[in-house]
């Protein structure tokens, strides 16, 4: 093996191990954190740092091949869909009346009441 290949291999394994570490921390977070709202943040460690580092490490393993292209496409999709899924779960919890436990001395914001179907239709379209 050339020195460059060894370096690449070391970097790749460093990334994969670091990624696995963050996936583990995320799982630990889901287990240790006290309630639903806090646990969402634990999952978020897995899907951001864990995912990015693992995919980067695997890209270095596969080199300049079509596999790398696919890995990058998977990464881009996860980058977009991960937060969307987290948002959907959190939003569903809020809509059904769950509220996070506020820290001492803080008052949580209340969502604006949903008026009717029509109002829901135009929400978020103010800039269109």
């Amino acid at each position: 093996m050339s020195p460059f290949a060894v370096l690449l291999e070391l970097l790749s394994w460093a990334l994969i191990l670091a990624g696995s570490g963050f996936v583990f921390v995320g799982a630990l977070g889901i287990w240790r954190l006290p309630d639903f709202w806090a646990r969402l943040h634990g999952a978020s460690v897995t899907e951001s740092a864990g995912m990015i580092l693992l995919i980067a490490g695997m890209c270095l393993q596969s080199g300049l091949t079509l596999v790398t292209v696919k890995l990058i496409i998977i990464g881009v999709f996860l980058f977009i869909t991960g937060p969307a899924a987290t948002h959907a779960v959190a939003n569903a919890a809020l809509m059904t009346g769950w509220r996070p436990k506020e820290a001492e001395g803080l008052v949580g914001a209340e969502p604006e009441p949903l008026l009717d179907e029509e109002a829901q239709g135009v929400r978020g379209k103010t800039g269109a």
Binding site: R32, H41, S44, V45, G82, R99, L106
Partner: protein, 160 residues
Amino acid sequence: MRKVLALASLFALWLLMSGLFKPLLIGLGLVSVLAVAWLTGRMDRQDGDRLELRLSPLGMGRYLLWLMGEIARANWAVTRIILARDMPLRQHLFRTPFSQKSDLGQVIFANSITLTPGTITVETERGGFLVHALDYSEGDAAALAEMDRRVAAVESGGGG
């Protein structure tokens, strides 16, 4: 011209995903690309809905690099909380304003908030997002305002 470009990029995607150049597979690819083009053309005549990408590519690249730095920092902060013996939490739900004009810009901002561990966009309202923070500090509002400004800059760079 648009159609040709769309067909070419769809077919390029097929080739990248398959990586095989047997006549049968190329033929199947061509058939599916044409079918997709025909189906989307039909759907377009129904509603004429467009997703306009009014973003500056260079600005977007710069923003993504900056976002990666933010993600790294936020991940480290949340990791330290999770591994700490007593897990110091300061949960808070608060409202943060956004200044992006297009839906796409707002989506990018909301997604960026959720991508950085420690903050999650819970609800989108007219003119603002509801954000839940795991370990709220007084500097969070300023940090989100900074992110808001950067996303809005990427958006206006496209000449929208």
